[in-house]
């Protein structure tokens, strides 16, 4: 699939094997509005689905849907991001960008799942939390933090399926699970490629480069150990055969429910904690402590002495930067 897009993209600039273009084609595929979202997938996956609404504090967020489902006979709580498939629905669903109410509804549903001994299935497809004023002032940061926190201790199995965009903290609010699954053409990143480019390249036009640098594709994320299972997409991508896509997801999800369902709640929570606890590599320098003094000449010399051999030398940066004075 990506190859096909790549060829099209590559033909335009005569570089069929440009890795940056390949990744960008993948990003566009993950964002394809025709891709099946939570409700479309549930149509195929669930024997029954009863959508529930509202966060009980403020409102109902149409960008996150949730409810009770029977999937392959298993009573399940399903929570997922919901983009629209056309302009009208997209406007109604705020382009799938959630407000804090969405995460508070999600937490309400997680708590329900725990009390009634139902596993949780989440579908993740979001560029990020809504960046506007309403979301900020009602505490989008608090909503995400609490949702992530609740998932780290929820005493029932949680399976996450990233179906399109796994964008930043907004995605993470529903993406902490015992198993994290991703569809082949999905992406997962700490910030949207556009946001990354705007900050690090100071130009949104470098988003292709940013996507490449962040290793956003599902398979790259699997190699990094962030994603556990990548599900191949049928035909030309999930949107070309949603029924088959749903069937493949259902098979994996039911298998994972079964595996995690064998554990006691204590074992389950411990295992989930142990899964995320080691994520993110770091090194150990030989020097036990960081140099205590404020920078200056001594700090500069110490920096040279303490430098890790793994860090290449960049002579241009050797000069001691100005001390910790505030910007004026």
């Amino acid at each position: 699939m990506v190859d096909r897009l790549l060829n099209r993209h590559g033909a335009a600039d005569g570089q069929a094997d440009d890795p940056v273009a390949t990744v960008w084609a993948h990003v566009q595929q993950a964002r394809n509005l025709k891709r099946p979202h939570t409700l479309e997938l549930l149509k195929y996956m669930a024997d029954e689905f009863i959508e529930l609404h509202g966060d009980r504090y403020f409102g109902d967020d149409p960008a996150i849907v949730a409810g009770l489902a029977k999937i392959g006979g298993v009573r399940t709580v399903v929570i997922g991001f919901q983009k629209g498939q056309d302009t009208e629905e997209n406007i109604r669903r705020n382009f799938g960008l959630p407000h804090p109410e969405g995460y508070r509804k999600a937490m309400r549903m997680m708590e329900l799942a725990e009390r009634f001994a139902m596993p949780v299935l989440t579908f993740v497809d979001v560029q990020g939390a809504f960046p506007g004023a309403a979301a900020e002032e009602r505490g989008i940061a608090d909503g995400i933090a609490r949702s992530v926190g609740m998932l780290t201790r929820l005493r029932t199995p949680v399976v996450v399926v990233i179906t399109g965009e796994g964008g930043s903290g907004g995605a993470l609010g529903l993406a902490v699970g015992d198993t994290v699954v991703a569809l082949e053409n999905s992406i997962y990143s700490v910030i949207s490629p556009e946001g990354c480019a705007a900050i690090l390249w100071r130009s949104g036009e470098q988003s292709h480069q940013a996507a490449y640098a962040m290793k956003v594709t599902a398979n790259e994320q699997k190699d990094l150990g962030i994603i556990d299972i990548v599900i191949a997409e049928p035909g030309e991508g999930a949107h070309t055969d949603p029924a088959e896509m749903a069937r493949r997801i259902k098979e994996v999800v039911l298998e994972q429910f079964e595996i995690h369902g064998r554990l006691t709640p204590d074992e389950l929570v411990d295992a989930r904690y142990a899964k995320f606890r080691p994520m993110g590599p770091f090194g150990l320098a030989e020097q036990p402590e960081t140099p205590p003094e404020r920078p200056g000449c001594a700090g500069w010399i110490r920096g040279i002495l303490f430098r890790r051999p793994s860090l290449p030398q960049f002579p241009g940066t050797r000069r001691a930067a100005p001390a910790n004075r505030e910007e004026v």
Binding site: G169, L200, P288, E326
Partner: protein
């Protein structure tokens, strides 16, 4: 005003190593004086950003901080290159700050009470949180949990570190995981948000304190200007600073720097029951099986332990602990 000599160029009137211009009121401030006032402008109250070690020295009992895990070193696991290669950025930050990454943590005492303190440093790549920062916060929390001492985290961060990709994002999970466990164990967690506290740091441990404190005028927000560039969404009518969050219910108290240490000590003394059983009690869970609720109310957590051996002298800047 220093005398301006005719043969000296004008820009030398206020050498940058001696003077700092206040962005709040444009006064020229003598650096030594500014350090004495905890780097708060004596004219307008502007709170300057301060390095992590300075913050530690301002908060902790003098000489009681013992830095842990100072040897944790960031790695370039994605071979990340933007306008600069990531190792280049790391090296520059390490040389200019004397830190290996954007946070330091260690046990220490505040008002004689043992605590686990983790402080972020905005001068190290914008205080961004990658695996090392996340690990230090998590280890501070694990120490608080094991030793049953309060957890105090001072945030100063632009958010998750993009150069370490989703590994940085996973630090939100790690840190919230330990915060949940600290809170479940009835160990106090005080979050102090300083200028700035944004992005994934605000949206994880920083917003999740039992008590959230913030320094005056500190910028605190989830979505940054440049993050939301290109996406829809109207701007907030005001820049969301500490006082905004106080009125919106996400910050408990806005505390000037000069009172921060005393306020933290006062809050801890409220949350932690007084000791009845002496020093050994500090290691016992307050609601452990077999103990009555009354004993938990009257005894336990975090008794005073003067002369604690683990609180050894560590390298911190001298003369900055002017809270006494």
């Amino acid at each position: 005003m220093p005398v301006r000599l005719p043969f000296r160029p004008r820009r030398d009137a206020y050498p940058a190593d001696l003077w700092t211009k206040c962005p709040g009121c444009a006064e020229m401030l003598f650096n030594k004086q500014l350090d004495k006032s905890l780097r708060v402008c004596p004219h307008c109250g502007h709170h300057f950003r301060i390095p992590a070690r300075t913050r530690v020295a301002q908060l902790i009992d003098s000489g009681s901080f013992a830095e842990r895990d100072g040897n944790l070193q960031p790695v370039d696991s994605l071979a990340f290159v933007d306008l600069k290669a990531y190792p280049d950025r790391l090296l520059a930050a390490q040389l200019s700050t004397g830190l290996r990454d954007a946070a330091i943590w260690g046990p220490g005492t505040m008002g004689g009470r043992p605590v686990a303190l983790c402080v972020m440093d905005f001068f190290f790549i914008g205080g961004s949180m990658g695996p090392v920062v996340g690990e230090k916060i998590t280890r501070a929390g694990e120490y608080a949990l094991a030793e049953r001492v309060p957890l105090i985290i001072v945030s100063a961060s632009g958010g998750a570190r993009m150069q370490e990709g989703t590994y940085s994002l996973m630090q939100l999970v790690k840190t919230m995981g330990i915060v949940e466990r600290v809170k479940a164990a009835r160990i106090p967690y005080i979050s102090v948000m300083t200028d700035p506290t944004t992005g994934g740091v605000f949206a994880s441990f920083a917003v999740a304190g039992d008590v959230n404190l913030a320094e005056p005028n500190a910028l605190i927000r989830f979505a940054g200007d440049r993050v939301s560039a290109g996406t829809i969404g109207e701007e907030l009518p005001v820049v969301p600073r500490a006082e905004f969050w106080l009125s919106h219910g996400f910050v408990d108290r806005v505390v000037p720097r000069a009172q921060l240490r005393d306020e933290i000590i006062a809050i801890l003394s409220m949350l932690i029951p007084p000791s009845v059983g002496g020093q050994a009690e500090s290691a016992a869970p307050p609601l452990a099986r077999g103990r009555s609720i009354l004993s938990a109310i009257t005894g336990a957590l975090g008794a005073d332990n003067s002369g604690e051996s683990r609180a050894v002298e560590a390298g911190q800047s001298r003369g900055e602990n002017s809270n006494g």
